[in-house]
């Protein structure tokens, strides 16, 4: 197991180098001049030239990239073109909000998705199953920004059960949970629907296996037949979907943070893109990509823990 983790961490290096290179290149090839953004509308030609010189924009792309990577390896993501703030610092301030939001969302998605999936599988073709199918379809189709706005209107503005926007308290306090609830539901709904569909088909596949009949023949209680004998097997494909969705959720935080005015990395990214703040965009994308890869690693480890037939040696 330790072997697997080390190997996957090593694989991470070329992957992240590749990602950072692509982000770096594509942003530099895009039209728009960071020097004129920094200098502002009043800057003269000479001002712009000196800003370019300062930023090293006159060096070859490759040199610029090497310089950037050299910094990244020391935990230095550079300085914002726009605010001169340290990118590492700007991200680290906002990262906890994004992290809490995505973890809360995946918890919501997993609990609702797995629960609904099991129920609709064991009540196959009943009205409960149909209800869950329709619900899942709606969950997948509804755009996040619309769902978020509706939840705010109903539960924050009309009934005032939850705050309208922002995160100010830590997630282990009641206030923090209330602040996270609506964004987490908004962000988690689509994933809940996908997880529910996958759970349903996985359970239906497993439940007709011979070993489930064996469990019943042993006199195992029906509850344990489903939750233990069936789910331990059905979880294997479901874990993949949960892992993938966690990756998508990270991307989804961009819109959700915007709707709920949460000061997170997603919001930072949108602002940075609008301002052509290259270094900031690179930092934020690199962080999200790293998380995505780490989640995949976690999924592989969970796999090996759940399915004894998988051994990475």
């Amino acid at each position: 197991m330790a072997n697997l983790i080390v190997r996957r961490l090593l694989q991470l290096i070329p992957l992240l180098l590749g990602i950072s290179f692509i982000v770096f290149i594509s942003l530099h090839l895009a039209p728009g001049d960071p020097a004129s953004m920094i200098g502002g509308p009043t800057a003269t030609k000479e001002d712009l030239a000196s800003i370019r010189e300062d930023l090293g924009l006159n060096d070859s792309l490759f040199t610029q990239y090497l310089r950037y990577i050299g910094g990244v390896l020391q935990g230095d993501l550079g300085y914002s073109y726009q605010t001169q703030q340290s990118v590492t610092e700007a991200i680290m301030i906002r990262f906890p909000n994004t992290f809490n939001l995505s973890v809360a969302s995946i918890i919501v998605a997993t609990v609702i998705g797995v629960g609904a999936g099991i129920i609709s599988a064991i009540k196959q073709n009943t009205s409960l199953d149909v209800l869950s199918t329709v619900g899942a379809l709606a969950g997948i189709s509804i755009p996040n920004f619309w769902l978020g706005s509706m939840l705010i209107l109903l539960f924050a503005v009309y009934w005032q059960w939850f705050p309208v926007a922002g995160i100010t308290s830590p997630p282990w306090t009641m206030q923090g949970i209330k602040e996270l609830a609506l964004p987490a539901i908004t962000l988690g709904t689509g994933s809940a629907a996908l997880i529910a569909r996958m759970t349903r088909s996985a359970v239906l596949e497993v439940i007709r296996q011979d070993y489930i009949r064996t469990a019943r023949a042993k006199g195992v209680r029906e509850k344990n037949v489903i939750l233990l004998h069936c789910m331990r097997n059905a979880m294997i494909p479901v874990i993949t979907v949960i892992g993938l969705n966690f990756g998508f959720l990270l991307g989804g935080t961009i819109i959700t943070e915007q709707v709920f005015a949460i000061n997170g990395v997603g919001r930072l990214l949108i602002q940075a893109i609008a301002a052509r703040d290259y270094t900031m965009v690179q930092g934020a994308v690199l962080l999200i990509a790293t998380l995505f890869v780490l989640v995949n690693l976690l999924v592989d480890i969970l796999y090996a823990l759940v399915d004894p037939r998988i051994r990475y040696e």
Binding site: T214, K218, G219, N233, D307
Partner: protein
Amino acid sequence: MQDQNSVLEVEGLGVRFRTEEGDVPAVQGASFSVQRGEVLCIVGESGCGKSITSLSVMGLLPDSAKAEGSIRFDGNDLLAMSQEEIRQIRGNEVSMIFQEPMTSLNPVFTVGFQVMEPLVIHRKLSKREAYEEAVRLLEQVGIPDPRKRMEQYPHELSGGMRQRVMIAIALSCQPKLLIADEPTTALDVTIQAQILDLILKLKEETGMGVVLITHDMGVVAETADRVVVMYAGKVVEEADAETLFQDPKHPYTKGLLRSMPSVDDETYALEPIPGKLPKPGEMPQGCPFHPRCDDAMDRCRVESPRVFTVGPGHTSRCWLGEEEKQNHAGKSVG
């Protein structure tokens, strides 16, 4: 029929499946009983209703199936029991092993967990007691190095070993009745003989009744005390093993015996029964066997035969039985 010595008495068992083409009977009017310490073989071609019969006893029929008649185990009617009552009997007083050892064990749990499970559920043993008892059971079914096996997963064991594990699980609560549904069909010939010997040995040691289901007359010859022959969902002949092999009455039984390979004679020509088993929804009129029967008479094509007693403890569902001189009063079932 109220025999003190019988563990299982099946009377007029019928099983119907609800399908899109309407209700389809899979088993009709099946009656037989199993004594303590006896091996009853149920034999017949694939699809004749053997598995459905045994699953009825376990209360494990699919939701689309409905059973009628009575299945008395130890005097109580299993068909009348609640799900919870029958669950407490399953794996405890009645156990079952299945045809496919490769897929019958749960791939994500250790062998140890799976053997310990019924011990904890039914015998209420502690984890530690259950562990030691499971090791003893694995030893009893001839698994070498049982403590190591306890920690292994099913995919690390051969088919024969897995079937031994299944037997250990089935025997864990000292059942009064063991149902083995084609337990050796998926195994190599040499392993087959070992597993059958093991079941017979354990039967001797525990005195349990055994229902052994097979389509192989060779297996019947080696194991059976009594034999029930099934065809198209009906019991067509029942006799003790010796009588059945010496003096079979039903043409289907005779056909099965002719299709049995001979161990002594390598050149012996197999004679499979011509034709195919009719599907449950497409039963011919009259005797379901008549299209394949050499002895079919006009009557067989229109009138389904009753069960005739053709000898002591020997019945046959065939019109030929009516002519048997030692005719006891024929009784009609189904």
